[in-house]
Symmetry: C2
Subunit: 529 residues, 2 copies
């Protein structure tokens, strides 16, 4: 058993009212004068102890009840869900020393599954872990997987491998902390809309065909046993609701982390993955939008791109005068490639050092040690072959720069468009949350320098880390967070991005570094350069 | 498809609000401007059509929803449960001609399983059927079976054979009426407390050991799939609550049939099986009691006794002057034995013809054609060997008469005791309901004649037939009947019969025909004789 990293819910303005609670109950032993059943005695004890009006006891618990009561001398530990006076028993055991109440949060990324094991009663994170989403074998991107799911057996295959990986992840994190998986009595899961469908065994086929609607937006009342989730069979499993095909439950969980429900002033949140997902709003209104923006930033497009991990270049600096390049790799290992945040760093530094110009073209002359010619034209040598892990140089070609230019332009245009929809300007944005792994490692100054993110005071940028996972943890701990999920889901309006002339004009203007309208980015070249 | 035998709920003072309802729903088809999920569209359509605040859609229905909506052009037939503004979907199909809503009532007797297939929307019984309870192989009586369940694998064995028989019965009655079992969308079951435990897979071991309490009195929220019941998997299965170990859900259902909730004046209900189960009460209070009384009447004790069925003598008349005996058998077949009601008839007729005296002794002289000598002493020849199906004479011996005397005395004493507990006398009883197969065939005048039932005006006796099955049918049809179940269960006080000196004195006084105090039975020998 590990001491948890405490979470101060008070500080976050949240109550402590976990999804599942526990009580030690003294059950009135039966006697000849009172024919009340054992189950009803247990129910009565819980009603009194927890102040509940109604308590449901699932049949599977009733089946083992006699043994539990007789072995415990009628003093039991009970785990239960309670809401509005209504309770449901989830586990009953003889009282023991190891009666802690565990919860599990799982963020189902299309690339990575992230797990957090939490102590529900003493709010804190006991441990975190992550593993790869094994569906990658059936399709790198979400669209390919959704199409695969449409083939015979495809849906089953993708659901089964996903649940296997989730169950393995749960088993591993439990083993690491020496607890039984059956001791996990609550779980919260989130993913994008396709992942949510696959989790639930729902075909994603309607998501990828006009008119692109989900089968189900708001899953409710799920128990582990319904899903084949190998934790306590009666454990409630909260799966975050989607808002349409492009706005997944992971974003909803992210909004809980950001605390949008508490802000008077408008805020922005971006989550950069395969899509750029953007939410604008405050406590009374929320607008969401999503668009293709980020493939270059996920390690899938550029040849040297890779997922953030050991050997990935995650920071780059270029000496303005000499053009000398310094980089840092994750784990300090020889470089194997460059991850999203490293790419933004590199891109910005090359621009600020005049190695690429405002159109994104390499300025180095032929013959420069940092320039090589490739089939795709000239390329910048980020790491010479002799320094790189694979022996091959790590290059950034003109073509790849162009992809980056389009990505960052798309991101900026989406942000501009969503603000324009409510006639706000960037300087009115109070906080700008950057979510996801990308947000965790990116230096917002660099993203501003290349014109990907707007030029607002840098302290307004807030990195949320794995905002989905963090939101799920809060949801396990607090009924206020759970209520926020529904609030957010109900209030959120999804803005369909219309690729009209106006949008395209704005997109074209954003395809320069930092922007055609240099005046939008006053700090670039002054503060940073 | 068969036309149902209509049930007039109005006449019974009950509303028509079946456990499951259906609606044809026109679902709003998805479009590019509205990312509402298919599930939420269906939920919305049902909310509007049925005026519900909240609707739950189980995951298994969501999984098939896309196909159903696409094959039906968004016009579907939906079956759902609704209570207090809360709905739960149970089935969704494309609209078709065969959309009727079926329910199944099953009375789980320890000897016989009785089935009634009903049309929930046009209240009526489509068909009835019965089969043997296969548990008999593991024990004739309930106590033996409860002990068997306590052995390794015993509980599983008894539960499995019971559910097999229920599923076979359901399949047969459906086949007979040419409907799929999956079209049964609601069920109601009742049995005594041991049977209810075995139905639920609960060990009955606590029922047979001090302090004799059930594991569970009030099952709730069960679906067919939870129980391995092969009807529509999401069909709600209402299992009647027990009140302690000796007062089963079958009696609760019987009380609904009798309509105890509507009477101002005190009424009695008896159900004679292995135990005599008695309820006294009216709309505001109910007292239940049970005691060993009836084995002689169930065909298990007397050598010629048999369960009511083909070849069973069910009526007997004796010519007062000549002593000539006339009998009637079920199905008009050669007699194989005598069932409970026949036995009471025989007993009464022999007394009224002075063939047995008030002590229960045979008065026929040795050598009389109707008298033979056996190992157990003299016996009365009910049917000579040459008339009987088996070739052997059907006899009633002194010993068997003695058992009958004790049975009827026990029944009368229990009735006296329960009345005494609230200081009522028999003439204050407004209606006297006689339940069960026994009650269906018995002639109350005969039961009065032998002093088994009290001598009240004969028109106050009401036969309820299979009161448990009939109650279950009402429960399927009417929310008022369902509310009555809970009312009854809450109000009912179980009276522990204390075998004290007072009880024993009353019992001894009742071991004469009709009674030591002949004045208690003024009509015997006047009206009947």
């Amino acid at each position: 058993m590990t001491v948890a990293e405490e979470i101060n819910l008070d500080q976050l303005g949240l109550d402590h009212s976990p999804l599942v609670r526990s009580s030690v109950l003294t059950v009135d032993p039966p006697n000849l004068k009172d024919n009340t059943g054992l189950a009803e005695r247990l129910i009565q004890a819980l009603k009194e102890t927890a102040g509940l009006e109604n308590v449901k006891l699932p049949l599977s618990l009733a089946r083992g009840l006699k043994e539990v009561l007789h072995h415990s001398d009628f003093k039991v530990w009970a785990a239960y869900q309670a809401e509005g006076g209504q309770g449901r028993l989830i586990d009953v055991r003889p009282v023991s020393n190891s009666d802690r109440l565990y919860g599990l949060a799982v963020d189902i990324g299309s690339t990575t599954l992230s797990f957090a094991l939490v102590d529900l009663e003493h709010p804190g994170v006991i441990g975190e872990a992550s593993s790869l989403n094994p569906q990658i074998e059936y399709g790198e991107d979400i669209l390919t997987r959704a199409r695969f799911a449409d083939q015979p057996e495809g849906l089953d295959t993708l659901s089964v491998v996903l649940w296997q990986a989730i169950n393995e992840g749960a088993a591993q994190i439990c083993a690491e902390h020496k607890i039984e998986t059956g001791r996990i009595l609550a779980a919260a899961l989130a993913g994008n809309t396709v992942m949510t469908h696959l989790l639930l065994g729902l075909s994603p086929s309607t998501l990828i065909r006009e008119p692109y609607v989900p089968v189900l937006n708001r899953p409710a009342d799920l128990k582990a046993i319904d899903l084949g989730f190998d934790i306590a069979p009666l454990a409630p499993v909260a799966i975050m609701p989607n808002k349409g095909s492009y706005f997944g439950g992971d974003l909803v969980a992210g909004l809980v982390t950001a605390g949008f429900n508490r802000f008077e002033e408008p805020c922005l949140m971006v989550d950069v993955g395969t899509n750029a997902e953007v939410v604008l709003g405050q406590k009374d209104w929320l607008i969401g939008a999503a668009g293709a923006a980020g493939p270059a930033l996920e390690g899938g497009v550029t040849r040297m791109g890779m997922v953030a991990g050991p050997g990935a270049i995650d920071q780059v600096r270029v000496e303005r005068d000499t053009g000398e390049l310094f980089y840092q790799t994750m784990g300090g290992l020889p470089p194997r490639g460059i991850c999203g945040s490293g790419l933004i760093d590199l891109f910005a530094e090359l621009f600020l050092s005049d190695i690429i110009d405002f159109r994104g073209k390499l300025t180095l002359d032929k013959g420069h040690t940092r320039r090589v010619e490739t089939d795709e034209g000239p390329a910048f040598v980020v790491v010479p072959g002799k320094e790189a892990a694979g022996g091959e140089p790590i290059l950034l070609s003109d073509v790849e720069i162009d992809i980056l230019m389009r990505s960052k332009a798309a991101m900026y245009t989406i942000l501009e468009t969503i603000l324009k929809s409510v006639e706000l300007s960037f300087d009115q944005i109070d906080r700008f949350f950057v979510a996801g792994t990308f947000g965790q490692y990116i230096d917002p100054r660099m993203a501003v320098a290349v014109g990907m993110l707007p030029d607002i005071p840098i302290q307004r940028y807030v990195s949320l880390g794995n905002s989905a996972l963090n939101g799920l943890i809060l949801i396990l701990f607090s009924s206020q967070a759970r209520a926020e999920v529904l609030d957010i889901w109900r209030r959120l309006t999804y803005l369909e991005l219309n690729m009209n002339q106006d949008f395209m004009n704005r997109f074209s203007a954003a395809r320069f570094i930092p922007h055609t309208h240099r005046e939008f980015f006053p700090s670039v070249g002054t503060i940073i350069k």
